[in-house]
């Protein structure tokens, strides 16, 4: 697990405290009922804070799974 992944797991864990690290790696909007609009907004805020990103809320459709979030963060983190 690299540094970005471990920080991402901490972010997800703070929003979805009932999930294990293993479950978080496979998580998506469809698989977790708790991933509602409030959780989505909270997750975006946590990610922005943790990685110093400015996430546009119109990018939300990309951020619907751990894998999608990881791709997004790696892409924008390297761009910033």
């Amino acid at each position: 697990m690299d540094e970005v992944e471990s920080r991402l797991i901490r972010c997800f864990s703070s929003v979805f405290p009932d999930l294990t690290a293993e479950q978080i790696r496979a998580v998506s909007v469809e698989s977790v009922p708790a991933w509602d609009s409030l959780a989505a907004v909270t997750l975006v805020a946590v990610l922005q804070e943790e990685f110093g990103l400015q996430i546009n809320l119109i990018d939300l459709p990309e951020l619907v799974s751990f894998a999608g979030v990881q791709n997004y963060v790696r892409k924008h983190k390297s761009a910033s």
Binding site: S14, T42, Q48, I58
Partner: protein
Amino acid sequence: MNLIEALEILRQAVPEDAHPLRVFLACGFTPLHLETFLAAHLRKRMLQERIEVKTGLFGDLAGSIERLQTSGCDVLAVVIEWQDLDPRLGIRSLGGWRTTDLPDIVKSANQAVSRLEQALRRGASSIPICVCMPTLPLPPLFTTPTRQAGDYELQLRQLVASFAASISNESSIRVLNSQPLDELSPPHARLDVPSELMAGFPYKLPHASAIAGLLAALIQNPTPKKGLITDLDDTLWAGILGEVGTEGISWDLDKHTHMHGLYQQFLGSLASAGVLIAVASKNDRVLVAEAFERRDMILSKENVYPFEVHWSRKSESAQRILKTWNIGPEAVVFIDDSPMEVAEVKAAFPEMECIAFPHNDYQAIWDLLKRMRDLFGKNIISEEDSIRLKSIRGAGALREARDVSGDSSDDFLQSAEASIRFTFGKQATDSRAFELLNKTNQFNLNGKRLSDAAWKTYLNDPATFLMTASYEDKFGPLGKIAVLLGRIQGKAIRIDSWVMSCRAFSRRVEHQSLKQLFQKFDAEEIYFDYKATPRNGPLQEFFTGLLGAPPITDLRFSRAAFSGRSPSLFHRVEEVVNG
């Protein structure tokens, strides 16, 4: 605190026996992360409480407050933003910013403030309320350039300032001070435009955390410290008195020692607000007395009691001062320029706040004054605050008189010329009575504490009564020293809470209080909700004296039994009925 930390704090387990603290957060916008931050800051401050933050309908701040069922919460936190006064003062509304709209915006803001004020005052009769006035920048809707304040903008700011000043007079309302918020959260870094437009949450996260942190402190409302023990040399004044003499010490601009003058001025301010000030100094007593006679001394010697000036350890001085004041070390701040003395006192009294006075560091002294204001700051200056020092001096005089007469006999009490004023009236705003109930340990019927909300609920019950007692004798006034909460049940009285300040011990105030109750309510019996606590020994001794045996739970006295065992009482008694 950042958001991830806040979420992690909220995941931590709460002790099973934690007392719930139910906070209602009212705001016109989506509370989102403000709710999270508020709960986390409260949790961090109040580890023994189970924090529950509830929110109302968004978009209707005044309505949320008006509909609030105060019985379901302990504290109301209100966060107002400009758009709550008129939606056009936010950025989600497109109601118009034409020049012709501006007078109407000010007018509707006035109406909104009136409605909010009414709702807050109504709520304040039941629960404590903490209010945060608008913190966001006003949008650029005015005709003047942003660098220039225009008429309508100033009218709006004046409206909010007047509103804040007006409600801050309510004893149950605490208004968040914008000055520390400005220090924590720069005004230009508060509004999150994308978040406001897309999620309805207008704050950048650090700003939300700053507001929540200050609101949590306001809600917690820590008990202010009661006494300050100060050193003299290089603290109250610059210079070593024993070396430079009375005229060599200074606290003025010319000698670049002005911060010591500010410190003196600050202590004078504390003393005027009822804070006890004592001196602990390794010094020559005669020289110190001469120094306090200097005409330019800012802190009057009348504001200081006692003076502990000798060459013994500072912890011994602190011990004697605590005994004279009759308060615990946790209620006292010790200030000395010597880190060694600070460490010595701290080792003797770990609960005492011990602070090193900064040496030749103006900025650090300024920061110290601000820190001390936070330690000693209080909502209201009560009548008791104004007489506290006098009553402690009086108690000292009384002790001395007793020592001279050699006993505490009837003769002595008769000669004390004591008077007691019993007041019956259920004033929820009686902050002194509420304070006594929640801080008194030794003469305390059962150790029960009441939250602000529970206090108001109790007093709103038509079957209950509140009796307070104020005492004065020839040695000086003690102010309000006893509080009794009870209910009438036919010919019986049930006492739910009874506390008396230890300052009033040995004056038979407790006997006179019961006598007063029997007479006032023509009662035949008094039942006590008594419970022994680790600290209510003096109350147990009182009951043991009356009963002839240690008290048990479900304690009661008949009128006849009390009359037969009560000692002689010499007080002049006055009864006042309020409301």
